[in-house]
Symmetry: C2
Subunit: 244 residues, 2 copies
Amino acid sequence: MNKRSHFVGILGSMGPLATADFLSKLVLNTPANKDQDHIPVILHGDCTIPDRIEFINGKGPSPLPQLSEGIRFLNDCGVGVICMPCNTAHIWHAQLAAMSQAPLLHIVQSSADQISKKNPLAKKIGLLSTHSTHLSGLYHGPLQDRGFEVVSPTEKDFKVFINPAIDQVKANQIIPAEKTFTLVAQSLIERGAEVIILGCTEIPVVMKKQLAEKPSMYIDSNQALAQAVIDFFQNTKASAPQIV
Amino acid sequence: MNKRSHFVGILGSMGPLATADFLSKLVLNTPANKDQDHIPVILHGDCTIPDRIEFINGKGPSPLPQLSEGIRFLNDCGVGVICMPCNTAHIWHAQLAAMSQAPLLHIVQSSADQISKKNPLAKKIGLLSTHSTHLSGLYHGPLQDRGFEVVSPTEKDFKVFINPAIDQVKANQIIPAEKTFTLVAQSLIERGAEVIILGCTEIPVVMKKQLAEKPSMYIDSNQALAQAVIDFFQNTKASAPQIV
């Protein structure tokens, strides 16, 4: 067995607060009675990775070289599985997975897997994400393949509300961002969304109150990814030969 | 300049929730407008490190070999500074610092530095910590050297209240632990403590309400260490030659 195959590798700090939130959710959702029952972690948190959204808007360098460096680093560490608690970075998932020996979990898959647990009858899924994730179709394809209809924010919602609120989270301005995201979520519900995926990991960080009050309405992509990591190690343990 | 000298290395997951809390405090206290303004992080979170308290009580193996492995790993990564968001692990600080090329911050120093900011007139400092930290004198020496009198929990407090509550945090049982720590803190205040150091990083994780309601009464060792990391990089930046 590789020395660190029981570690999860986190390619994080996109953004930094979302990664802290992810780590907290990983810990709080792991069945544990003591430190040693938790999942060991190596975090490569390079927040200097060029902004994903700016690159897609043609305003900055590609994040791919530094994303690749992070994947190489985590593979060199020998981690058993890798995850990225950032939805937008999944635009480069295929390229990064291809260069990674350790499996690279997919946050869209993890989030989509939660829909039936939240509301098995839901047909219309609201998607609250960055404009880049929206344009890339990261969620649309997999959700439509599963027979769901996607309700997205309008172009005006992205420009006037969502983009500035994501910038606010990155600058630690939590309260105004919370108000904005809650308003946009409300408009998706009015347009028929039965479940809303918080498909940008900055969003659940600030929508804690909504998540606590309406747990069956929201899918927190950060929480879904944390659960996928926990499931990965539980399945690995279950299938590993028992050493007595 | 070393490739990762702008990274902080975190020797963490002692316990896992305390490290997630530390990361969140590091991010929220960093002056930032965007991801790239934050401090890059490598976290070596090996929660399988043998329990520090059990070893001190003669009930388990030494944590030193795995602590040393973490320090070597972070040095191999080339981080600029290392911190350990666990007070009890600082019993091995001198040995770990001696083998580390990167400076290893000291959580007791960081916490003691906060006393004058919280209450410049305070003379009696309450210390809420693990029994091991208490017995080791980690805080007592430095606080007495600065002219403070230390008010510690009683032996009964450690046995009946503090030890079980720390185990509860490690098992994600937040609410009962919060009640216990708040009661013990109250008894330290009744015995004359003017400021209380939460000298185990599991404690501020669950005493959020008290910290918010009485910010001048408590020193959160996790927050103090996060501030020390931020100060380290601000001072490094201020003293580095400007590249124009």
